[in-house]
């Protein structure tokens, strides 16, 4: 179990470090912002996105306090990158406005989390989930 042989025992599968440390936190003691808000929590907007074959799904809940995000929850079914994407977006969204959220794109996610080419769709899921959330929110605000 030495690094001598090129294997980092703390990250044996050799995921990009930002992905791995997020994932580890999520499946470790401190799964911050994982889960869902209690049903009926006021100000919550929700968005969901998946891969075409629906093999992975990312679900995002943002609780708005006025125009800004006060708290966030995510759930993910997918590879560690998809979990990292959900976790990162949840943290990042805090204190941001809807227009700031709208600016988030997959490229940015890939950069921040060092998501490799063959995992690009995990990042896209993040962008799509935010977009879906914002669309539903603007829909419901126009409706009321």
């Amino acid at each position: 179990m030495s690094i001598e042989h090129g294997i980092d025992p703390a990250n044996p599968f050799d995921y990009p470090q930002p992905i791995w440390s997020r994932f580890e936190r999520c499946v470790g003691e401190a799964a911050e912002r994982a889960g869902r808000f209690a049903d009926g929590t006021p100000g919550v907007a929700e968005g969901r996105a998946g891969t075409p074959a629906a093999r992975s799904v990312l679900e995002l809940q943002l609780r708005f306090d006025g125009e800004r995000v006060a708290d966030a929850r995510f759930r993910a079914y997918g590879c560690p990158s998809s979990i990292a994407v959900g976790s990162w977006i949840a943290d990042w969204s805090i204190g941001r406005s809807a227009s700031e959220l709208a600016g988030l794109n997959a490229r940015q996610l890939r950069e921040v989390l060092e998501i490799p080419e063959d995992r690009a769709h995990c990042a896209l899921m993040g962008e799509d989930a935010i977009k879906a959330l914002l669309a539903r929110r603007s829909q419901s605000s126009t409706q009321t």
Partner: protein, 383 residues
Amino acid sequence: MIYLDYAATTPLDARVLEAMMPALVADGLQANAASSHAPGFRARAAVERARAQVAELLGAEASEIIFTSGATESNNLAIKGVLEFRGLRQAHVVTSRIEHKCVLDTCRYLETQGARVTYLKPGADGAITPEQVLDALTPDTALVSLMWVNNEIGVRNDIERLAPLLRERGVLLHVDAAQASGRIDINLKQTPVDLLSVSAHKAYGPKGIGALFVRRKPRARLAPQMHGGGHEQGMRSGTLATHQIVGMGAAFEILRREGAAEAERIAALRERFWQGLQGLDRIHRNGAGPSAPHVLNVSFEGVEGESLRASLADLAVSSGSACSSATAEPSYVLRALGRDDELANASLRFSFGRFTTAGEVDAAAERVCLQVKRLRSISALWN
């Protein structure tokens, strides 16, 4: 790190290493076993002693054991060797969908050369019945190749019942016993298998050495696949790897003495582990048929396979067979049992062995429960 991957490979037993040492140090058994001088004769004698040890565990004669580089080679030699000897064109082979890759790929290769192959589908319990095999026979069937114990689910086929039925019908039977030797009772004096493959590294011996049993009476005839100096009765050329062979002999000798008790102990550990997982709902044990003691294959609903494996990075377990897990494809064995891609991918093979302790088993089960629960708690598809 808890090692629960004994079906992928076993650590070398320290006693085996000790037996190998004389063949690895100066003034020992380092000469070429084919050389006609005293050190060569000594090496040869050590090889022959090991051959007898391997034979003994299987209930075979020493002269029926051909050393190879492993079960992959043994399987290649047996299947291609028989078909080449019999003439390839039109020949028919019966095997199963859940054989090891080295059997399947060999069969696929033979199909490109004109052979016909029937790949039997296992029942939901993971076993191929003798009746299925008999039903598949045609007048052209040259060979049935079936594994004794499956490497992914541990299920054993009823070779004891199948072998005499094939003998009666004059059809050759090759058995891949890489996972079986030392773990279940094999007695080739009683079970009329014609060809049988074994590997040392599944039995606490060194990697890179195996054997093919080739029955003498009645003689199983096959064409050699490695041409050369005519070692191993002309069936497998190449300088004999004395230390490897001696190690395999020692490993098989230990199993002959301790295998039965060990199998009981390991089966108990496996059940203890399975009990330990009962805190989880919606998990499925794959392969309900009679099984070898060492493998437990479990599918976990509601978690994604890659994250499941990543979350258990401190356990050395396998998803599917080691050979195919690099290619991230869901196990063809589990799919043949009827699991969908999703669930097949969210499955783990836990395999237990000589050095597994109850403490390790308990810690591992606890860890699996915890991580599956955590992944489920953050899963968008679990309620």
